[in-house]
């Protein structure tokens, strides 16, 4: 239990640094956008960015093996038809089964 309560000060400095840069990325967006004017292309790009970020986040992991790719496709199919928690649980069950089969 004592070990669980130990605080590593070098690590704490890294955490503080990480916290600061992360907070700056969070407040930086509205700050930047207030100072830059956007044309239609830039607006369309900005609008599509969230989806593109999500795709980039999941693509390497989702396509890492056939079982995961199939389960990911399954989640995409049901995602708009059932509540999110149902889709997530169904996806996890599917990936466990598919990993055993494939």
């Amino acid at each position: 239990m004592l070990e669980a309560l130990r605080l590593d000060w070098d690590l704490f400095a890294v955490v503080l640094g990480g916290a600061l840069v992360t907070w700056m990325t969070r407040i930086g967006g509205p700050w930047l956008i207030a100072r830059v004017r956007l044309g239609p292309a830039a607006n369309a790009a900005l609008e599509a960015t969230p989806g593109a970020v999500l795709v980039a986040l999941v693509a390497p992991a989702a396509l890492s093996r056939p079982s995961d790719a199939l389960a990911a496709a399954f989640v995409c199919l049901i995602a708009r038809r059932v509540p999110m928690v149902v889709a997530v649980v169904a996806g996890v069950v599917a990936v466990v089964l598919l990993r055993r089969l494939l």
Partner: protein, 241 residues
Amino acid sequence: MTIPASPPKSPGQEFALGTVHALPIVAGAIPFGFLLGSLAAKAGLSAIDMGLMSALVFAGSSQFVAVELLGKGSAGLAVVGAILLVNLRHLLMGATLAPRFRGVPAARAGLALFFMTDEQWALSLRRGPGLTLAYWYGVGLTLYLAWLASTVAGTLAGALIADPAAWGLDFTFIAVFLCLLAGFWRGVGSLPPWLASAAAALAVHALSPGGTWHILAGALAGGAVAGWQGRGQGKERASDA
């Protein structure tokens, strides 16, 4: 999940609504946080270390990267740099939220934006112009507490989950992000930017598997294709752009 249009609500009702909307995400975040905590324990982090990181950084994907690098004994600056890279996407997300924060005093906006995560942002954007700070904090504080509790619990439990992949828990975050992605489907026009993002992300990921550049690459590729698609719109305003 659909969010029905409704008449204006009191701050208390808005907060409660945010809490309710956050619950499905909490269900996905708890195993994710627990998994991160157990990995952190293996990397030599204490529960206090993990708790401080979750409380102050509060950004899941970047914490996974940080824990991995800390376990390898990477230099502090490299870890901070990696955290920055993973979270650069917040800049673009925050930019899309800017209209909602217009008129909010800087200090209050700065505090509220601390809670901006992928999920917070996705839920809030779907509220449209009707987004309130009460709703924002309903979502944000719920996710914050769930994240803090699950990552610390995971660290304390340590190596209890010997092989998370065997339980499919590593797939949780893929499923959650795919569900969030489905919310951004705007018809076939959404497909080209997404395919471009996937192609760029896969290519860059193949070149630097441990890195986080593929997220930036995908965002830029998807944004570029969407910009090209949208270049013809609003030509009458092109002269003053």
